[in-house]
Subunit: 658 residues, 2 copies
Amino acid sequence: MTGLDAKRILIEDVRPAVDGGLYPIKREVGDRVTVTAAIFRDGHDKLVAWLLSRPVGKKTWNRSPMRCTNPGLDEWAGEFTVGDPGFEEYAIEAFCDQFGSWASDTRKKVEANVDVASDVLEGMAMARRALEWLPKKVQTFVKDQLKAAEAYQDPRARAQVLLAPALVDALSGNPDTATRVQSPVFRVRVDRVGARFAAWYECFPRCCGREKGKHGTFRDVEDRLPEIRKMGFDVLYFPPIHPVGFTKRKGPNNSLVAGKNDPGCPYSIGSSFGGHDAIEPALGTLKDFQRLVKKGAEAGLEIALDFAINCSPDHPYLKAHPDWFSHRPDGTIKFAENPPKKYEDIYPLNFDTPDRAGMWNEMKRVLLFWAEQGVRIFRVDNPHTKPFGFWEWLIAEVQAAFPDVIFLAEAFTRPRVMKALAKLGFTQSYSYFTWRNFKAEIIEYFTELTTPPVCEYMRANLFANTPDIFPTFLQRAGRPGYKIRAVLAATLSPVYGIFQGFELCEGVPVPGKEEYQHSDKYEIRVRDWNAPGNIKDLITRLNHARRDHPALQENENLRFHRADSQHILFYGKSLGPDHLLVAVNLDPFEKHHSWVYVPIADYGFGPADTYQVHDLITNRTYLWKGERNYVELDPHVEPANVFVVRKWVSKEENFDYY
Amino acid sequence: MTGLDAKRILIEDVRPAVDGGLYPIKREVGDRVTVTAAIFRDGHDKLVAWLLSRPVGKKTWNRSPMRCTNPGLDEWAGEFTVGDPGFEEYAIEAFCDQFGSWASDTRKKVEANVDVASDVLEGMAMARRALEWLPKKVQTFVKDQLKAAEAYQDPRARAQVLLAPALVDALSGNPDTATRVQSPVFRVRVDRVGARFAAWYECFPRCCGREKGKHGTFRDVEDRLPEIRKMGFDVLYFPPIHPVGFTKRKGPNNSLVAGKNDPGCPYSIGSSFGGHDAIEPALGTLKDFQRLVKKGAEAGLEIALDFAINCSPDHPYLKAHPDWFSHRPDGTIKFAENPPKKYEDIYPLNFDTPDRAGMWNEMKRVLLFWAEQGVRIFRVDNPHTKPFGFWEWLIAEVQAAFPDVIFLAEAFTRPRVMKALAKLGFTQSYSYFTWRNFKAEIIEYFTELTTPPVCEYMRANLFANTPDIFPTFLQRAGRPGYKIRAVLAATLSPVYGIFQGFELCEGVPVPGKEEYQHSDKYEIRVRDWNAPGNIKDLITRLNHARRDHPALQENENLRFHRADSQHILFYGKSLGPDHLLVAVNLDPFEKHHSWVYVPIADYGFGPADTYQVHDLITNRTYLWKGERNYVELDPHVEPANVFVVRKWVSKEENFDYY
């Protein structure tokens, strides 16, 4: 820093970047990344800059020119497109544009009729010196131009030749590399599009049977595939499918003693039938599972598994690797606790075990095992209670072998911790969506999720409910509430999910808690999947709208627009010519109406233009005009509109013979 | 990153920091620095954290405990105090608080009447293990406590001993160093208080004479010292005092041909009398200068010099170091240009000279030479046209030898460039103050200057005018305008300056430009320093207010408050019990009045409290009550109030015998 370095160019504030480049940004295959930076030097000479990009591990950079977008603020921008899943990296290089600067000055002198004899000599010397580093093809061109200039005696005639744009561009585009400055290198994690855009359906396979009290199987799930796919879901996610422990097995409603036929909690993993790489015999065999993965894929449903680092007292690890667990001074192994609560059916692994390498690599082996069975999505249970460094290592290792693997972090905890897990590698994250029900809080939270820095590294998977969370809103609001939450989940984010039963608007809460009575976590349940009052039709329409409209498949294009009613949330998503507008009455009890304000300028409409908005929920079309329009939403009919905006194109000028 | 590192603690978002720690923050001797960060780990165990600080070069850190200020957001804070001028550094270290976490869990179990036999054994084992790393004194204490616990058989009685705050604090305060995590190291540049707080007076020594047409001398400046000091100035800054070149010397009003007696422009430096380390003979000798520095110091005025890297065609460098200049292909040396304009009396140095070491070290030698004469403030001319790397090196080198040296950057250029110069080492910066005249633009600009990140590295020295800038506002507004700008400069920033003549409200503009006719840059002028209409009394009052009120000596304590009139700017500065409020009518033509809104809660006043505000400009006192109060400002009387806020303390309860 205090050497004699005549550093002239500074590159500051490169964006996008997460924590100044400490963590990668996230993008999906085929995304175009716009990179901006402040690039400037002392004095008034010109600069040229390129955006560099390449897959990590490749030697040569792809170079694309950057352009100055705001000279007063020294802002520059450039773009590159990301390829296959994996890591890519990007950086900026800048050079002093000596010939360009000379040309700009000399042009001014020519225009002011100032003598340019000396300047012309200077320019020619500069061009000649550049021959040292110019690419062959450019060399020939420059030599020809120099000859052409030398053919004249008159300095102004020579200047004419030297100032020709083709020559200036050739020399500016190949500057003296001695002036080169490069920014730090930034990384981008490229995931498949499914990391950003997918509709998830969560179900317990054991609750997919049709006979009361009988343990459901993978074959029962197979039977449900067409119905689930018909609703438009893309991912079918199962809580743990591994052998459930017997010792201290929990009974219905999390009771401490299980009955003889109680299936136990699948999060208490491991028994004499095996551990994390085995399958609960009551569900079927590994072959059955493989068959289900295949059938799912054929139906358009990708299977996602749970990864819960919990061991039942019967897990094989306890015998094979007692050193992987914490031992109390009295010789017993430590079970899970949240003092004074005890979870005696679950033994957590001790990440500080001296056999760290053995344990960590076993976790990796388990995930690779399932990846080899075709599972490429893992929902991770409580990652925030395991070391950050473990996840950073594990995700990198698994994705190095299977770049298309997706990890969803189930961390309902403090914002810093949730964000850190996303930065360290988790592809998707559960979110606070569940507890954001009213207008201001939805706008605040989703503005954070869809703008930098958070949108650069965190993809919120909006679950409307989970086996663990039966939100107060659903408990109190009934069927209109389920509809409201379905619309919000499906349109506020390109990736969202529901847990089985949501589509039936079902559920009895544990009083005063956000938990289900008769939770599928502790007992076998059988449902009528077409029970009256279900909202499967709405969910189907929402999922098809999502599939038909690219605007709903992106995250950072969410924009909230003004609606005068405090109960009506109004927002839009656009991508190219695809414009969606969503109006939701957030009050599940009463009808509300509101003026809503359409961003017509963004759509290219004038204040006097009439256009149509087509509601994908009711299939009705309305003619709207200008910015301010009217909506009326009765939660007992439909609490929301999901409008496609369509220009009214026909005018006499549009006809060929006009 | 992909090693088996069970990293548990993350330290994020350490503040203050400039560009993530790339550049130092700036503070002044004795400042208390509050450092905040997000510090968190996985799981629910407790953390402890310390703030580390030390002068750069020292081995041992000073450690002060940090406290968690917002558990939900994982925010922590700590403080340290900076010492002498130079560089200090700071960092954060955090540890897992294993015993504290155990104590917290065990306390809950004791309260819930759960058996703690096993927990007590665990806690005792933990305390015993800690003996390995505990400091001697703590060891003894812990051993004693362990013995005390062992004396009981009952686990709850043992727990009582182990959970005693003194033991928990001792063990939490000396955690297992194996869990230690440290943030990156951040730097702070500590300057003397004069870097932040000073009033500058700029004058051309040659224009300090009393006889028309006669070149002023250092002795003439000596005669002016008492008067300048009486106005309350701290720094007396001279444009270049070096020999002025003869070749191509400029005449009055920047005319191309100088008359025989014209003194030339002092920015055209160097003649047969010497270069940057010599003194223009017409001003006096080096001895005279040394005497002036001494007399100035005695009077309370510190001399600041200009550092302008310009050479006249007669500068000794041209013969001694022709290779330090750029040569044209026709053999001539390049003079300064701003095409099509030419500055043939100035040759810029070529920073790309092969003799970079020679040239740069000569610049350093020149500054060290003047520093040895007692000059510790350099105003640097046009630093933005020299390489960033040069300034970074030069300032570091000079401050390594003389840590109290202050560098003021005269860079009127694009914001990124001005900010970069400040980040790279300049102590102070000229600013856009000159062109911020109306309410919204003043609030916007000064909010930026007084809040992070800018306030961490940039100190704006607010010059109301300069030899180069005769602002339109002053040209059009006349005497009320000079008063307005004086109040703003003196109270918006702790460091400000005026250029001679401002106090006389003098100046004739070059039509359509912000330049002075008969500029002191090109001719000898003589003024009546007590000419009628001068505002020396106002300036004196302002400077004394600044000296008497610590609140006016800080930068980041500026707060804008509401005033209903669009012409009246209302702001405050507080430091401890010292509260100042300033109301300025920004319209130099018309009287305006306004409701102004006092931040009474910040002062500890209730809405019904009456308090007094004393105007330091008119010496009048007003009784105000509650938040909303009234001001009326006539620019033709006084355009501003500078109020000291005083509590009305006397109440019957304040008497001893109440």
